[in-house]
């Protein structure tokens, strides 16, 4: 059983490892975007493959467009990276 689990992890690991790196790169890119252009925005959560931001209402649409572009551009692969962005008043809506 252990062996089996190990094999499972062996495939899982490079995928998860790269996913982890990409999300961390996205967080660094998001932080830079915020510092340069959106001083009032706060990055509040990172869960699974998702980043959550608290954004002043008037900036939200524009920020959503910018963060999408940032995240999709942090790492280049043979297939495109896609980030789905949503805006809402609570986490359930987004």
């Amino acid at each position: 059983m252990l062996r089996n689990q190990a094999d499972r992890m062996a495939v899982n690991m490079p995928i998860q490892g790269l996913a982890a790196d990409i999300i961390k790169l996205a967080m660094i890119a998001a932080d830079k975007l915020i510092r340069e252009k959106y001083r009032e925005v706060r990055m509040v959560l990172q869960i699974h493959d998702e980043l959550l931001f608290e954004v002043p209402e008037p900036q939200s649409e524009k920020f959503a467009r910018d963060i999408k572009a940032e995240m999709e551009g942090v790492f280049s692969m043979s297939v495109p990276l896609i980030a789905d962005v949503k805006i809402g008043d609570n986490w359930g809506e987004v």
Binding site: N4, I28, I87
Partner: protein, 832 residues
């Protein structure tokens, strides 16, 4: 009974086998597998502490065939030849046994337990004042038990043990110890491939022996025995006698045995400690008798020397006495997040650190100076403690916790163990409650010294780990990688520290009214489920009580427990076990639902409101050095465990809000794992699907079923989706069948077709190392690349929690890849 003298006889090979199979494949940094050595040592320390023996011997098998092999060619024939990494550990065990000054016994032609039997009988005869205890991993030696000899055997993995005396054997088998050979004659022993009498199981064997005493006597009274069993006995008579003979231990092996030579001598602490360190058994070191005293002596010696040479300096000072700090400073805050700082230690090299209790302008300037590089263990925490004391921390440069994590991901060491592992310095673990009390109430000498020592040791750790990072990076560069572990550390992990600290500080607003509303709603659902379950069971009971649940399910409702694991107290009611009987009764599904709701209610709905600050904001902690995969995790609360695609998870998330005048923006990578899988495997069709923007699951369904995209129905798509995820996580047919909602036969067929269509996917599944090599220079990290070595993964195989392991509630997707159930069913392989 008065304290008797004791002789411990260790059945080494049985213990080694046991440990090897029961423990995950622990590997040292050098790549040596040491799980069996670890298990053996752990039992040895336990036995030494428990029995405090006067005499001790460790017996080993030799490679030569024994008389059993000669007489019976099938002996142990079914036993799969143990892997080489087990045999490689035997010399290590012997090395250890020798370091403990324990004599080793072995003799060609005999097994270890024959030697034990001989020693036990001789001791009984010659030394009436000595009690014999056989320490073993199997039950072959139970036959030796009498009023003078007991068997200490491991049970259920390595954690649990039983001391068998005559009474315990009777309770377990209903037999006397000397009937154990007769018992094996009848019942056989599958692990040694002893045939016994075909069709006679545990129960019949015990009943027959209770009535007739011995195997011989059973055959004498054959006519009395009822026909079914009689025929079986008649048929296998030769085998029965033969099995009995082979199971009987030889207690007159021609060897000299002098009890005095087995006297448990004191042993060289240094030798044993060095060996344990070499094998990285830090937790065992602490269990070594006399270890603390030994280390204290050394420490004292060292500090006397150091004082003389004036090398070490832990001083409490005013800030103006601080020497000039230019480039590096190691910091260690004395306090907790959200509390007023007691003071802090600043380390200027690996030997000197200074404690300041007042953080004045001078200190603040140092901390805020980006050019002065900060070293620490868990710097994010220091950032937050200092931030709460209006002291900005900048220039966080080297977090030793993160560096250690990258070098050995998943080992998740405490600071004390890290210091021990890397520097060989023993620091006593602090009793949390006691430690805090002294820190808060008094600035006594010891407390400030401790913190200074921490700062100084962190400086040493940095120097050591930095070298390790450099070394591996050089190797990676030589291997042609552009990005190295050092780039990962410097460009990703370290910059992330402050980002995470700020996120923690910001927190997220929680609407308590919404949570309360959901909680009440949930109360009603839980209550309703509770009633339904009790109605189905036809009896009133507490569903949360495992004892009552076990009784109701397996006894009262008589749901067959054939495949269910048996624990100490009886059949298990753990989730993965209940999964096995899900199809047998609808009540199981209700119980699962009840448990899920109950857990969500207690871990989130009822807890979150008490965890916020006065502005109703919740500040989770992000862990950067925990998972084996490199992903972040969160704790207090763990937000990853809120279910993703369930209605309830959705409801809980509505309680996470934006402040007035703000909105929440979510940015979620879509199908990132599958995209990475496509990229890493280089599967052309998968890549094309993503490039053309088609739906990958529909595309898979079309490929597997050989139909057009527009013919793919909902059910087909969801099966393909489960498969897509299942394959990359190596899901078993069983797991796939469950999540795709098809039967196992269908699942097998589906997987077969999948691999026919995604050949690269298959090689990835079957040969993980090939998969890793496919990963182009683009993959950034050591985590992404260095997994060619399977050993390394094996070690992590049972380690800390990656995103997809364990918790049933982590339902990221309908597929729920690699869930807890999958692991228990062997994957039959794509072809089979």
């Amino acid at each position: 009974m008065a304290t008797k003298k004791r002789l411990i006889l260790i059945d080494s090979n049985a213990l080694i086998h046991r440990a090897y199979h029961a423990l995950p494949p622990l590997t040292t940094k050098k790549g040596e597998i040491v799980n069996a050595v670890y298990g053996y040592t752990s039992v040895l320390l336990n036995v030494l502490a428990k029995f405090k023996p006067e005499y001790i011997v460790a017996a080993f098998d030799l490679k030569e065939p024994t008389f059993r092999h000669k007489e019976f060619k099938d002996y142990k024939a079914t036993r799969v030849k143990a892997p080489d990494d087990l045999y490689a550990q035997i010399p290590r065990v012997k090395e250890l046994v020798e370091a403990f000054n324990i004599p080793i016994a072995e003799k060609a032609g005999y097994e270890a337990d024959d030697l034990l039997a001989t020693f036990a009988r001789k001791t009984e005869k010659l030394h009436p004042d000595v009690e014999v205890i056989v320490v073993t991993g199997d039950l072959d030696t139970l036959q030796l038990v009498n009023d003078r000899t007991k068997v200490f055997a491991l049970r259920r993995g390595m954690s649990d043990s039983v001391l068998y005396d005559e009474k315990a054997i009777f309770e377990r088998y209903g037999l006397k110890p000397d009937q154990m050979n007769d018992y094996k004659g009848l019942r056989g022993d599958p692990s040694d491939n002893l045939p016994g009498v075909k069709g006679v199981g545990e129960k019949t064997a015990a009943e027959l022996l209770q009535k007739y005493g011995t195997l011989e006597n059973i055959y004498k009274n054959l006519p009395e025995i009822k026909e079914g069993i009689r025929k079986k006995l008649e048929k296998d008579k030769v085998q029965a006698y033969f099995s009995k003979r082979l199971a009987t231990l030889v207690d007159n092996v021609p060897v000299d045995f002098d009890l005095e030579k087995a006297r448990a001598e004191d042993f060289s602490r240094v030798k044993v400690i060095n060996l344990l360190r070499e094998m990285e058994f830090f937790s065992l070191l602490r269990r070594l008798p006399g270890y603390e005293e030994h280390m204290k002596d050394i420490e004292e010696e060292k500090s006397v020397q150091e004082e003389k040479s004036g090398e070490i300096a832990y001083k409490k000072i005013q800030s103006n006495e601080l020497p000039l700090i230019k480039k590096y400073v190691s910091i260690s805050s004395d306090g907790e997040i959200g509390e007023i700082l007691n003071g802090m230690a600043l380390g200027i090299d690996s030997r000197s650190a200074f404690y300041v209790s007042k953080i004045d302008e001078k200190i603040k300037n140092i901390l805020a100076d980006e050019k002065i590089k900060k070293i620490g263990f868990d710097l994010k925490k220091d950032w937050r403690i200092l931030d709460g004391n209006k002291t900005p921390l900048k220039g966080m440069d080297f977090d030793v916790q993160i560096a250690a994590y990258l070098l050995k991901s998943g080992s998740n060491l405490s600071w004390e163990d890290l210091v021990m592992q890397e520097l060989g310095v023993m620091v006593e673990k602090e009793d949390k409650k006691k430690g805090q009390a002294t820190l808060v109430f008094q600035e006594d000498e010891k407390a400030f010294e401790k913190i200074c020592r921490r700062a100084a040791l962190n400086f040493s750790l940095k120097e050591k780990l930095e070298k390790d990072l450099e070394k591996i990076s050089r190797e990676q560069l030589e291997y042609g990688k552009e990005k190295t572990i050092k780039t990962l550390f410097e460009n990703i992990e370290m910059p992330l520290v402050e980002i995470l600290a700020r996120m923690e500080k910001a927190g997220i607003k929680i609407n308590k009214t919404v949570l309360r509303g959901i909680s009440e709603k949930l109360d009603r659902r839980v209550e309703k489920l509770d009633k339904e379950i009790q109605k189905m069971a036809g009896v009133e009971f507490n569903v949360n009580s495992n004892v009552q649940l076990r009784e109701v399910l397996y006894e009262k409702m008589k749901i067959p427990a054939t495949d269910i694991k048996k624990g100490k107290t009886g059949y298990s009611t753990a989730s993965p076990e209940l999964q096995k009987i899900k199809s047998l009764h609808p009540v199981i599904e209700k119980i699962e639902e009840y448990r899920e709701l109950f857990k969500l209610k207690t871990t989130y709905l009822d807890t979150l409101p008490n965890m916020t600050d006065s502005f109703s904001r919740l500040h989770t902690t992000f862990n950067q050095a925990v998972t084996t995969t490199g992903r972040l995790s969160s704790s207090d609360p763990n937000l990853q465990n809120i279910p993703i695609r369930t209605e309830l998870g959705q409801m809980i998330r509505t309680a996470f809000e934006a402040e007035q005048g703000y909105r929440l923006v979510s940015a979620d990578y879509s199908q990132i794992e599958l995209r990475i899988a496509a990229h890493l495997s280089g599967d052309v069709r998968m890549i094309t699907t993503f490039l053309s923007g088609e739906d990958i699951h529909t595309a898979t369904a079309a490929r597997v079923n050989k139909i057009d995209l527009d013919k793919v129905g909902k059910k087909m798509r969801s099966a393909a989706k489960a498969l897509n995820f299942g394959i990359i996580y190596g899901m078993s047919t069983f797991g796939f069948a469950q999540s795709a909602g098809v039967d196992q036969e269908e699942a097998r067929e589906f997987i077969r077709k999948y691999f026919a269509n995604y050949p690269q996917g298959r090689s990835a599944r079957v040969h993980p190392e090939i998969f890793c090599q496919l990963s182009p220079g683009g993959a950034i990290s050591r985590r992404g690349e260095n997994f060619g070595a399977r050993k390394r993964i094996r070690r992590n195989g049972n380690g800390t929690t990656p995103l997809y392991s364990g918790n049933k509630l982590v339902k990221r997707d309908a597929a729920q890849p690699g869930g807890p159930d999958g692991g228990q069913y062997a994957y039959p392989g794509p072809g089979g």
